[in-house]
Symmetry: C2
Subunit: 370 residues, 2 copies
């Protein structure tokens, strides 16, 4: 593990680098440390060229722009947004237990993180360029070339123009107050709160205003939710559901998986996040398979785009136990029950109830800590 990351990252592949945050690290702070934040790459990290970096803004605009880092930082108002990012494959491991998903990484609950992003509003840059009639989407193109696309192409994606114009969407140069790290998209990345992480394109070099969505492989073909019977090898650009805003989700972070905990009052905690423009309004916890639930306490909302920490105290007798958590969003939409019902060939968008197995030992017995 390099790139300034902690030793407890869970590395799923070294090249391209893909690593998730441990449960323990996610639970430490409301903002995930830069040294712990998950990394999801589709190609090698591009060589740094901060000085030579230029951002082109083109397509359906009145005035195409070419911006340097200084031009972006000095030419536009600076904004900060606390926002969670979540990979579309977060919690795929629970789908893998249902059925195999060849060629995809077994992400646990650590392909998500919460950070404070600093940058210019994409809306302001678009206004400077002047969006022309007929525009419907804004496409991003990064500097990272991926051989996962055939033929190899830079990573790209797009969001609807209405979202691109929202004040929370940034072209960010800092994360948690530090200059953006190379592995997280330096010098500039897009941050699209409420959308799957793939739309927050790193190392962004080109922004194109256009009528339809991007035809980049990672928008048109990958990151689509296919029906269970589809073959991803032959699925085309029009198949399945194009992923954008994500659905309400939650994970349990503490105690750790298969932890041994003393009987009595046991504190369970985790994160919950709602996609699009929704917010988390309730988290329920059950220790009896969902027959009864208690409501967790939610941590304060740092911003409408932040995740919410949650915490509940359960009384559990000695023996094996399974704790379940589920979150509700502001439309009273609750996480569905069973990952088997959500299985899809690429293993995206698992937001089934989250479960954690524990062993509760009689109080006073030695245990290796939580």
């Amino acid at each position: 593990m390099t790139w300034g990351k902690r030793g407890d990252m869970i590395v799923h592949s070294a090249d391209p680098l893909n690593a998730e945050t441990s449960r323990a690290a996610l639970g430490e702070h409301e903002l995930t440390g830069v040294d712990a934040f998950y990394v999801r790459n589709h190609g090698p990290v591009p060589r740094s060229r901060r000085g030579g970096w230029r951002l082109r803004v083109d397509g359906l605009v009145d005035r195409p722009l070419e911006l340097s880092v200084a031009g972006l930082r000095d030419g536009f108002a600076r904004h900060e947004v606390v926002a969670a990012l979540q990979c579309a494959g977060n919690r795929r491991v629970d789908l893998l237990r249902v059925r195999d998903i060849p060629g995809e990484l077994p992400w646990g609950p650590g392909a998500a993180g919460n950070a404070r992003w600093t940058g210019a509003r994409l809306a302001d840059v678009l206004a400077a360029a002047g969006v022309r009639p007929g525009a419907g989407h804004v496409a991003f193109l990064g500097a990272d070339v991926s051989v996962q696309a055939s033929p190899p192409q830079p990573f790209g994606g797009s969001v609807p123009l209405a979202k691109a114009r929202c004040p929370e969407v940034l072209l960010a140069w800092a994360m948690n107050g530090e200059p953006l790290a190379p592995v997280h998209g330096a010098p500039i990345r897009v941050v699209v709160p409420g959308y799957i992480g793939a739309r927050s394109v790193k190392w962004v070099e080109r922004i194109t205003v256009q009528a339809g969505p991007s035809d980049n492989y990672f928008q048109a073909t990958a990151y689509r939710l296919l029906p269970p019977g589809a073959d991803p090898a032959t699925a085309g650009p029009a198949d399945g559901i194009a992923l954008g805003p994500f659905a309400v989700n939650a994970s349990i972070l503490a105690p750790g998986e298969n932890a041994r905990v003393p009987s009595g009052a046991i504190t369970v905690s985790g994160y919950a996040l709602a996609g699009g423009d929704r917010s988390v309004v309730r988290v329920d916890v059950s220790a009896d398979g969902g027959r009864s639930w208690c409501q967790a306490c939610l941590s304060p909302e740092l911003s409408p785009w932040s995740w919410r920490g949650w915490r509940a105290t359960l009384e559990l007798p000695p023996g094996p136990a399974e704790v379940i958590a589920r979150a509700w969003d502001s439309t009273a939409s609750v996480q569905p029950e069973d990952p088997a019902q959500l299985w899809n060939p690429k293993g995206y968008a698992n937001n089934a109830w989250t479960r954690l197995r524990l062993t509760v030992v009689p109080a006073g017995d030695g245990h290796p800590g939580r």
Copy 2:
């Protein structure tokens, strides 16, 4: 049944009038006929006073307005929106089968409908009044007084200012091309697509721009999703989840409940609707309890706020059968499985999988029709 409604309406209470549309009527057309559209009232229909009607616009505005019907129709651009409305209690009957819900009406799948609404944009009226800084919500007050509130008060509710300014939110005077009927809010009602029906206040007389949500009983206390253990009789304004945008939902309309159908190819159809700014992107149908699913065909989207009709053909052998349908929205959010997991003391927001029991008879056997 009066008020120009069809004879096959399912009347849940006569005073106030509450009646839902039959499955058969809902399935007839993509737009629900005015004579079939569900009626959800909390008090008597106010006496018509079209000539004397005035709409006051006040609160945090630069120029308080007082508009007549002619002033509204002539003073603002006319817009049409096809939009579904859904009562927060739609499909409550499936929750009642889990546990009793005293004092609430046993709505089936017919407390929803799809119509073409004509009116002025609320956004235009707000712009004419001039929204002042500090505004966060827009409150509506109807002319219908409800004794369900204590003390009795006119029915009211509110939506966030951002939603109130969206182009789809209308002050409507026509429904499916006909002047708005008295029972549907004549002369003018609010239409808030994507939100529970309660926010589409009928017989609206006052629109108040204010900092927070309405303190009207039907916003602050009713229409909140309480946790299962709460007592609605003592629940206060801050308890539970305030309902606004609704979650993805679907119903099966044909064949009818407990229908006898001949074996072979059987067509199942219904509606699906997504709340907020989401859209329905997929509907699955299962005849084996959810072990396998086939995708239904979706009817064209009449507008982003319309519901989607869907249709699937299944091959079923003779015997008892249960067909299940579930819809996915554009965030890959799918309906949850089990109404028991959604039960709440007021019986709101049931969006569990929808189930329909059938008896499949050998082809050629007499049966009373579908």
